[in-house]
């Protein structure tokens, strides 16, 4: 069997770095376990003792309030101690290397690192160098992967649509810069979704994206026709100033999700967005707040999914 840096010698999940190459049964187990954690998050006391005495370090080299918060809540609901480090504002600016930062935190008896970094591959690098008892979760690296977001999106789709094997899913917008889209595409194909579409202007789709097994559309009406799930991606503001897009208004005109464009999808189609949303840029407020939107449930499910990932990892020696 090919070496997989995410798995231990028994083939169990040791780090979560990317959905690419993740065995399907592990993905399904994470979703099933998250389902059981959902009932925990609805109780009077929303805590279980699994990670009691463990120290989870949130290592964010790139700012992200929401993702960091949901990891923090997940770890606390598992009874772990959580240490939040916004490294961008401390050691790194003083010149310390990534691996030195990690070595120092390991010396403080960390059991798990949750890593967000602007460079693709940062979480892999850390996973290769930590002590064997430490687990690493990639919370987003560059344009590469954001596996827990991909998993919570799969949980959301399964919650509303039950079966993956008869679905048409459209991922719309800035796929080029999106680690979320890459994780979604790998997860959807691995779970057997027969038709995954990417929809966006040529400048915002990766050149060879069809090699990932997706259908490419540049026209919204054709791209959304008869889909069961619409996933809108965030259009990052910094992309608007370059040569990729004329303006946010023009992007909204062609690719912003309005009730009229959504009408081409199946009547029971759900609308998802990884957040934070740009209202009036990639999504119209009436859709974001409409009855087909499952954007807020995604956030709730994200906590249960991250609890599942952490408890499966920490239990695998």
């Amino acid at each position: 069997m090919a070496y997989n840096p995410q798995l231990n010698a028994n083939g169990e999940l040791h780090h979560l770095l990317t959905i690419e190459g993740l065995p399907r049964d592990i993905i399904v187990r994470i979703l099933d376990t998250a389902h059981s954690f959902l009932s925990v998050t609805e109780r009077e006391i929303k805590k279980v003792p699994l990670l009691r005495g463990k120290a989870v370090f949130n290592l964010f080299f790139e700012p992200s309030t929401r993702t960091r918060t949901t990891f923090e809540i997940a770890a606390k609901r598992l009874s772990a101690d959580v240490i939040n480090l916004n490294v961008g504002t401390s050691s790194q600016t003083k010149g310390e290397t990534l691996l030195d930062t990690v070595a120092n935190l390991s010396a403080m008896h960390a059991d798990m690192f949750v890593v967000r970094h602007a460079q693709s591959g940062a979480a892999h690098l850390i996973a290769r160098h930590v002590a064997p008892y430490i687990h690493v979760i990639n919370a987003g690296d560059g344009r590469h992967a954001h596996p827990t977001q991909g998993l919570l999106d799969m949980f959301t789709i399964r919650h509303y649509k039950q079966d993956f094997t008869n679905l048409r899913v459209a991922i719309v917008g800035d796929v080029l810069h999106s680690r979320v889209a890459r994780s979604q595409i790998h997860a959807l194909t691995s779970l057997g979704v027969p038709e995954v579409r990417v929809v966006g202007p040529r400048t915002l789709l990766p050149t060879h994206v069809s090699e990932l097994g997706v259908h490419v559309f540049h026209d919204m009406a054709r791209g959304l026709k008869d889909v069961d799930v619409v996933i809108m991606l965030r259009l990052q503001n910094e992309r608007m100033n370059g040569a990729l897009l004329p303006s946010a208004q023009e992007f909204f005109k062609y690719y912003g999700l309005t009730p009229e464009k959504l009408a081409g999808a199946k009547p029971d189609a759900i609308v998802m967005h990884p957040g934070p949303m740009n209202r009036g840029v990639e999504i119209d407020s009436s859709v974001a707040d409409g009855n087909q939107s499952v954007i807020l449930p995604q956030v709730t499910f994200g906590i249960a999914v991250r609890m599942a990932v952490m408890s499966i990892l920490a239990g695998n020696a």
Partner: protein, 170 residues
């Protein structure tokens, strides 16, 4: 040892419970066998509270050494636990560790007025101070054997004895 007939034991267990279980008592079955038993007892005893189910995976004391259970079922407690008269139902009582975990989980829902324990069989070997208030029968098996409750397609319950798989021995 030949296992007793599970259906006959279940009838005896229900009759032992009947005089001491009021109609507002709440049954909680522990996955998997305990849930099958609790469903039957709930019907036989005609209890009013909806049936609860519990999966103790998030409270097990061997998580550190064995990791998270592969197939965790969601616990479902569809009644107010605070001040409830609860009866936990399990198939095989052994070390008592599963019951400890179930009691801990239950208290995260609220403070019950009382918790009692009903088990189909007790194989001894307790490692915690836990005892059943209602019991089908005591049975004897070797340390390297495990007792399993099985349910056939038509719903009939039976007890079988199997050797413990090598990787599950401590």
């Amino acid at each position: 040892m030949r296992m007793p007939d599970a259906e006959a034991l279940l009838d005896q267990l229900a009759e032992r419970m009947r005089p001491q279980v009021s109609a507002d008592a709440a049954l909680i079955g522990i996955y998997t066998g305990g849930v099958w038993l609790a469903e039957r007892l709930h019907r036989t005893l005609g209890l009013k509270q909806p049936l609860g189910t519990i999966d103790v995976s998030f409270y097990r004391d061997d998580y550190q050494s064995r990791g998270l259970t592969a197939r965790v079922k969601p616990s479902d407690i569809p009644f107010e636990v605070a001040d409830a008269d609860v009866i936990l139902v399990d198939d095989v009582l052994y070390t008592g560790r599963t019951i400890r975990a179930a009691i801990n989980e239950l208290f995260d829902y609220g403070r019950p007025r009382r918790i009692r324990l009903a088990a189909l069989v007790d194989r001894g070997g307790r490692e915690l101070p836990i005892a059943p208030q209602f019991l089908g029968a005591e049975v004897k098996v070797a340390d390297n054997e495990q007792i399993e409750l099985q349910k056939s397609a038509d719903g009939r319950l039976s007890l079988v004895v199997n050797p413990v798989p090598a990787q599950e021995r401590n």
